[in-house]
């Protein structure tokens, strides 16, 4: 959403809170929390035990997206994280109570690690 005024606050409240990965051997994220801060939406997250990335994440900026340009019914989010050694873009969509994160992870040019993709499933705690 371009402005906070366009967000359906009833719908947003459903998304706010903690979402836990359904898979106990998650590749990246154990759980994440969506919350409001300074008029915007933010995301914090915890790495899973078996995650290939174990450094702490800063808060990420989250943007809500509606199903159509005319509606304000939130169905998806995008989030961006700039870490010391990695940049992450998350495309997050809702499907019947699950939030599904498609994560695109990019490392610095000089980093031997290759850019990679994850897709994980979360339920509301």
């Amino acid at each position: 959403m371009k402005t906070a005024e366009k967000i359906n606050t009833d719908e947003l409240s459903y998304y706010l809170g903690t979402w836990r990965n359904s898979y106990d051997k998650a590749r990246l994220i154990k759980e994440f929390t969506l919350f409001e801060k300074e008029g915007g939406i933010r995301m914090s997250l915890k790495n899973s035990t078996e995650s290939f990335y174990q450094k702490p994440w800063p808060e990420g900026e989250v943007t809500a997206h509606a199903y159509t340009p005319e509606s304000n019914d939130i169905v998806a989010f995008k989030a961006h994280f700039k870490l010391e050694d990695m940049e992450a873009f998350f495309a997050i969509n809702e499907n019947k109570g699950l939030l599904i994160i498609a994560g695109y992870l990019s490392f610095e040019e000089a980093d031997p690690r290759g850019d990679c993709f994850v897709r994980e499933f979360f339920y509301k705690v």
Partner: protein
């Protein structure tokens, strides 16, 4: 690969040494699975348990107020291939005087995916319908 003169309809009906093992131990299915969709009008929750060697699925339908107890149904379990000991999916059926509900379930990354095929037998002309919803062990 072919140890006996088994009949088959396709290659995967026969044991292959090249299968990659995946799926779930049946024990991972056990317990209470809650529909993660708070607005569902389908199955609210599922309990899976053993009775002897039988795997039973107990379902509760979401009602406008509360739940309807469907009772238990015996599950037929399926692996991802003919040589796998792991459970990849299951099927069961609930028969009511006015409708039949066939359930096909599978596991994906800790999510139980439940497809239901709903057929009416009461002459009400309600269309048979299909649904697909997601369940998690949300208390875990």
């Amino acid at each position: 690969m072919l140890e006996n003169n088994l009949e088959y309809t396709k290659t995967d009906d026969l044991v292959s040494e090249f299968y990659h093992e995946w799926g779930s131990d049946a024990d991972e299915l056990l317990g209470t699975w809650n529909n993660v969709n708070p607005k569902t009008g389908q199955i609210a929750r599922i309990l899976i348990s053993y009775e002897g060697d039988d795997l039973l699925l107990h379902a509760y339908g979401k009602m406008e107020a509360g739940e309807k107890d469907w009772g238990s149904s015996l599950c037929e379990v399926f692996s991802s291939n003919v040589g796998s000991p792991y459970v990849e999916g299951f099927m069961c059926q609930f028969d009511f005087p006015f409708m039949n509900i066939r359930i096909a379930g599978n596991m994906k990354y800790g999510v139980m995916v439940i497809q239901s095929y709903n057929s009416f037998t009461d002459g009400s002309k309600r269309k048979n319908y299909f649904s697909r919803e997601f369940f998690c062990k949300t208390n875990g």
